[in-house]
């Protein structure tokens, strides 16, 4: 009888130990395994998109830089427009003869009107290579 009870107790203890072992194995490792993959996935989700985003940014920067370079390249091929902006520094340079020549290069010769047949441009009338330069400083009022 005592042996039977002992066997039962030992069996119950064994079962309890087995169950507790199974329970702890299910809980802790699974929790760890979930958190790790979760962390990993989070890191992966954060890192990969971040990397891809950064890569995307890098590409976009490179693209924008190349686009800027492409934009700069054609702009350097626009002397007519640059001459309009370049004439301002020439004013500051004090070289009164430089600006009109640049302006006159993109001038026009009207077919009619008071200046018909004369090369005109902003501020300038006449041949940019003329021997005489007459400059008038004036005010409209």
């Amino acid at each position: 009888m005592t042996k039977t009870i002992t066997v039962l107790v030992v069996s119950m203890l064994a079962v309890a130990l087995f169950l507790s072992a199974c329970g702890s194995d299910d809980a802790q490792p699974s929790a760890t395994s979930r958190s790790v993959p979760a962390d990993q996935s989070a890191q992966t989700d954060q890192s990969d998109p971040a990397q891809s985003y950064q890569a995307g940014n890098t590409q976009s920067v490179e693209e924008s830089q190349s686009a800027d370079a492409e934009q700069q390249a054609p702009s350097s091929d626009q002397p007519a427009q640059q001459s309009t902006t370049d004439d301002q520094p020439s004013d500051a340079d004090g070289s009164a003869g430089d600006q009109p020549e640049q302006e006159a290069m993109v001038g026009q010769i009207p077919d009619s009107g008071p200046y018909a047949g004369i090369l005109i441009n902003r501020h300038v009338l006449g041949d940019p290579n003329a021997a005489i330069v007459i400059t008038e400083y004036s005010d409209f009022l």
Partner: protein, 137 residues
Amino acid sequence: MIEEAVRSGLARYEYRHFIVFGAASQFAAMATECAGDQGAWWEFKDAYMLEGLARSFTRAGALDLARAEGLDLDRFSQCLDDEAHADRLLQMRQQAIADGVTGTPTFRVNDRPGARAIDALLEQIRAAAEAAESAGS
């Protein structure tokens, strides 16, 4: 005579803003420069110089003139709003002062001070023309 010299290719005429009469004058100069963006600088300059007393130096007057010249009014208005040529006008003024200009009108011939009296100025131009022709011959 100046026109004749210009037409013959002997001379070039250049106009420089030298604003001495305040805001209305500044506005007219700005309007002229904005018109110049659309190829109508001389039309505006002549209108203000020749018809200035009859024409109001206001935004409405400038817009009327721009309309009459067939300019893009939106672009013209934007230019006025932005004061897009303020730097150009300032630089002209600074250059004029550096050239010794103190009032208007002031002329210079070949970057040398021009005479104030028209007869003396024409004589100065005539002498410059003769010098240029003798140098070229």
